[in-house]
């Protein structure tokens, strides 16, 4: 069966510091991968999605970037964090075919101080 992991689960970082959040998927190949951010008490905002290695589409221009160095690995990064980057970050995957469901990881809670 397929599983999706996110690391770390919780992170507290000072303003101006770099960021690297990792997402890995097991048990499937060529997944579509997604990064979402969820502000406190709010819905999900799609940040990036990827349909293959090295292919990244950005939905919202901001202080973040994403990379996909391996088929089942998706990384969210920042060179300098802002206070507004605080939130709950969710990674998701889908098989990519028409109508497929997205399955979510457990999330990373990021607090920027």
């Amino acid at each position: 069966s397929q599983t999706i992991h996110q690391w770390p689960a919780t992170l507290v970082q000072p303003v101006g510091s770099p960021l690297s959040l990792e997402c890995t998927v097991e048990g499937t190949s060529n997944p579509n991968l997604y990064w979402y951010r969820q502000a406190a008490g709010r819905g999900l905002q799609l940040l990036f999605y990827s349909v293959g290695i090295g292919q990244i589409s950005s939905e919202v221009p901001q202080n973040l970037s994403a990379s996909r160095p391996q088929d089942r690995q998706f990384i969210l990064s920042s060179k300098k964090l802002l206070l507004s980057d605080s939130g709950f970050y969710l990674c998701a995957w889908s098989p990519g075919a028409r109508g497929d469901t997205q399955y979510f990881g457990p999330g990373t809670r990021l607090t920027v101080l």
């Binding site: 579509n32 819905g43 999605y49 589409s57 469901t101 997205q102 979510f104 999330g107």
Partner: protein
Amino acid sequence: AQTVTQSQPEMSVQEAETVTLSCTYDTSENNYYLFWYKQPPSRQMILVIRQEAYKQQNATENRFSVNFQKAAKSFSLKISDSQLGDTAMYFCAFMKMVDNYGQNFVFGPGTRLSVLP
């Protein structure tokens, strides 16, 4: 651009009763998919139910069912025999294909459901 609206920020229901959560969406697409996800306090997003727009029959998963009205662009979720474990945020989501491979998911703002003992 597609939008998803959930007009009920918070709802409550007594255990064993039935509750309906509303969702409306706006799109010019004809082929798309609709989902309901729940997010309990653990914050893990869990798929509840899925509906293909080309299917007229409403989807059902055990105690969960939807009322899909394509012309009205409405997609409500009915929870029967509510249980304490149903307490969660519920998100309605719209999905369409992008470039034949990608998927564009748009989520509503969510409805916080509390099941009361």
